[in-house]
């Protein structure tokens, strides 16, 4: 994005909403900010209608604060709770349909590469577990097979939340949910493993209970997708509303699940991606010294 683009046309200063003005004067564009800087800049995310205490909303807030180049990022979403939030996010984002996000992202990324051969345009897919592992799995995996240079982030809230709490492929085995009246019969789909086998150069699982780590993972995933290959991040953020937990307990529940070993923080980096990230790190240190 050219620097001058995000400004207010002369004469409109007094009618622009306050939060927009703040984005112009103190937004994150071109500033290399991250989770550690939260509270010091105007975030991309605006007031939104997701439930109080929603772990998915927290995850999104952290993800958006971790984009390495928000000024050149386009997000592709999918139908679900998160799509109600994306309309209030200050990077361009596409909501097309339920499940087609990785196909849309494929076309988008290719068009942007043709139109801006000398610029990096990050295309980041952010979609629910149902969108990613159930209805859209075909297109998610095919984009990995084709080695499309996009980052796929799953918001794993373990349920079809937006439609009122039905079983998804990511629901825990045994969970009694709508459309699983006798309890879910099979375990959570092991998509990280599938992602690795399907050609992702970077795969990680993380949760918003570890905000800094989440920021690092998202950043690495997006960087790897610039040059090396597709990347996949699975964010564990169970839905308090549908699992009927008091919203203040969500992060504790996540920590408990991690302690019990049911949820594991994992990272896979292909040797090529490892070398690439190490190279970027050296460059960065070099820049800092200068």
């Amino acid at each position: 994005m050219s620097k001058g683009l995000f400004r207010i046309s002369p004469g409109f200063e007094d009618v622009m909403p306050a939060e927009y003005k703040e984005l112009v004067t103190n937004g994150p564009y071109g500033r290399d900010l991250g989770v550690k800087d939260l509270g010091t800049f105007k975030e991309l995310i605006e007031e939104h209608p997701l439930c109080a205490g929603c772990a998915e909303a927290l995850a999104l807030r952290l993800i958006l604060a971790s984009l390495p180049s928000p000024e050149d990022t386009v997000i592709v979403g999918s139908t679900g709770c998160s799509s109600l939030l994306f309309t209030q996010v200050a990077v361009q984002n596409i909501h097309s349909l339920f499940g087609n996000q990785n196909a849309v992202a494929t076309g988008l990324k290719r068009a942007l590469r043709l139109r801006f051969p000398d610029k990096v345009k990050d295309v980041v897919v952010i979609a629910g577990d149902g969108a990613t592992v159930d209805i859209g799995l075909d297109m998610v995996m095919q984009s990995w097979f084709r080695r499309e240079l996009i980052t796929t982030i799953m918001l794993d809230n373990e349920v079809y939340a937006n439609t009122g709490g039905q079983e998804s492929g990511m629901s825990p085995q045994g969970a009694v949910l709508y459309m699983a009246p006798l309890g879910k019969k099979f375990p959570k789909v092991n998509l990280p493993e599938i992602a690795r086998e399907a050609g992702c150069a970077y795969v990680a699982t993380i949760s918003p209970a570890l905000p800094r780590r989440l920021g690092k993972v998202v950043r690495r995933a997006i960087l790897v997708a610039r040059e090396i290959g597709p990347s996949y991040v699975q964010v564990f953020c169970p839905c308090p509303t549908n699992f009927k937990w008091p919203s203040a307990q969500v992060l504790q529940k996540i920590r408990d699940r991690q302690k019990e070993g049911i949820f594991k923080v994992r990272e896979y980096v292909s040797p090529e991606a490892e070398a690439y990230l190490a190279g970027l790190e050296v460059e960065r240190q070099h820049d800092e010294q200068e």
Binding site: T87, Q88, V89, A103, T106, G107, L108, R110
Partner: protein
């Protein structure tokens, strides 16, 4: 370059090619950025040839998608990113992709898609049949129906010119009846090889391109979707109306580039055959036979199905006693459209209808006209002029 020069003025040379080859000749001159393909008979050959064009450098990107829904989603993404796109499909592929077509229209993308119509599995058939067009009538895209390979070539090229007008900016489906058009050779007049449409300029689009270069970056302040109130319903409805209005505004561009939404032969006749696609060619043959028998029959060739030439049909048929509508599908969607467009629609006879791969012998049309004329109370046309 002025597209009109390419369409009508540039000297053309005659070649003897299939409809699939005609599609590729159109794409070659359309300055397409990205084409995405998925195989299905009778569409495949054309997209193989488009792949060859990619190999020859006429396109910047091309790949085989995973299924038609994904292909239509990917061309949607590429178009949102500011690329000019092309794809094509047939029958079951059209139905598999169905959910995407209103999305193209809803997001005002000038996607051009060719449809090589075929049966859709009731029961299975790969043969020519255009029932899929009935299912697309209200998805919001413009629809042109080609009679032959020449039309197919011209309509695909002109589709880009119409689709990309800033006051239109809608998807266009260009339809041809599979096999009859795609797999037979005919004489086609080709514009010069070195002429092509000017590149698509996303800055002329009435909606922002998703490239983080085109404002607005923050798209909406208050989300409409999650508010259940009259204002948000009305905002949604007004977007629908704007899409319909954009299709209306396409009429003038269709007239300019295609010479009209329909063509009429022998407008003074009182009996007409009204058809689109291959049924037009068959109607031409039937008219020759009927004339030889002393029965004068005019022809209405409908080229634009969406927008539909309601006023034109009304005007052409104002003095007509009988309008016979032959079709390559069981539903009779074109007859329904014409019946809804005109007064005194008992004048419209829907038939003959063939499907499941049947051809439409001239005799079938001739008999339909003869039978209709023998209905009690129908004026006999003879060879006299209209009223």
């Amino acid at each position: 370059m002025d597209p009109e020069y390419l369409f009508s003025e540039a000297p053309r040379r005659q070649v003897f090619i299939t409809g699939s080859e005609a599609v590729a000749e159109a794409v070659k001159r359309a300055n397409v950025d990205i084409a995405i393909a998925y195989p299905i008979t009778p569409q495949s050959e054309s997209m193989h040839l488009v792949g060859d064009l990619y190999d020859q450098g006429y396109l910047k990107d091309y790949y085989r998608g995973e299924n038609e829904f994904a292909v239509m989603a990917a061309v949607h993404g590429a178009s949102l990113g500011g690329g000019r796109v092309f794809t094509a499909t047939s029958g079951p592929g059209t139905l598999r992709a169905m959910e995407m077509f209103p999305v193209w229209a809803g997001s005002r993308q000038p996607v051009v898609c060719a449809f090589m119509c075929r049966g859709v599995s009731l029961p299975p058939s790969i043969q020519p049949e255009n029932i899929e067009m009935a299912m697309l009538l209200d998805v919001g895209m413009l629809m042109f129906h080609a009679e032959d390979a020449q039309d197919f070539l011209d309509m695909i090229l002109k589709a880009y010119a119409v689709a990309e007008q800033p006051d239109v900016h809608l998807p266009v489906g260009v339809f041809a009846d599979g096999f009859f058009v795609t797999h037979t050779r005919s004489a086609v007049l080709l514009p010069p090889d070195d002429l092509k449409l000017a590149a698509y300029d996303p800055r002329r689009a009435p909606v922002p391109t998703f490239d983080m270069e085109t404002p607005p970056i923050r798209l909406v302040r208050d989300p409409l979707l999650n508010k259940s109130n009259f204002i948000s319903y009305a905002a949604n409805a007004s977007w629908h109306q704007e899409i319909a209005a954009a299709a209306e505004r396409a009429r003038k561009h269709i007239r300019r580039y295609m010479g009209g939404l329909l063509e009429v032969e022998d407008p003074a006749a009182v009996v007409f055959l009204a058809a689109s696609g291959t049924a037009v060619s068959q109607s031409r043959e039937a008219i020759k036979v009927l004339r030889a028998e002393g029965i004068r029959v005019g022809l209405i060739k409908i080229m634009s199905i969406r927008p539909f030439p309601v006023r034109e049909i009304e005007a052409v048929t104002a003095h007509a006693d009988l309008i016979v509508v032959p079709e390559f599908n069981i539903g009779g969607w074109l007859a329904r459209e014409i019946k809804a467009a005109i007064d005194n629609n008992r004048r419209v006879v829907g038939g003959p209808r063939v499907f499941g791969g049947m051809t439409m012998p001239t005799e079938l049309i001739v008999n339909e006209v003869r039978n209709a004329l023998s209905r009690p109370g129908t004026r006999q046309p003879g060879m006299r002029a209209g009223i």
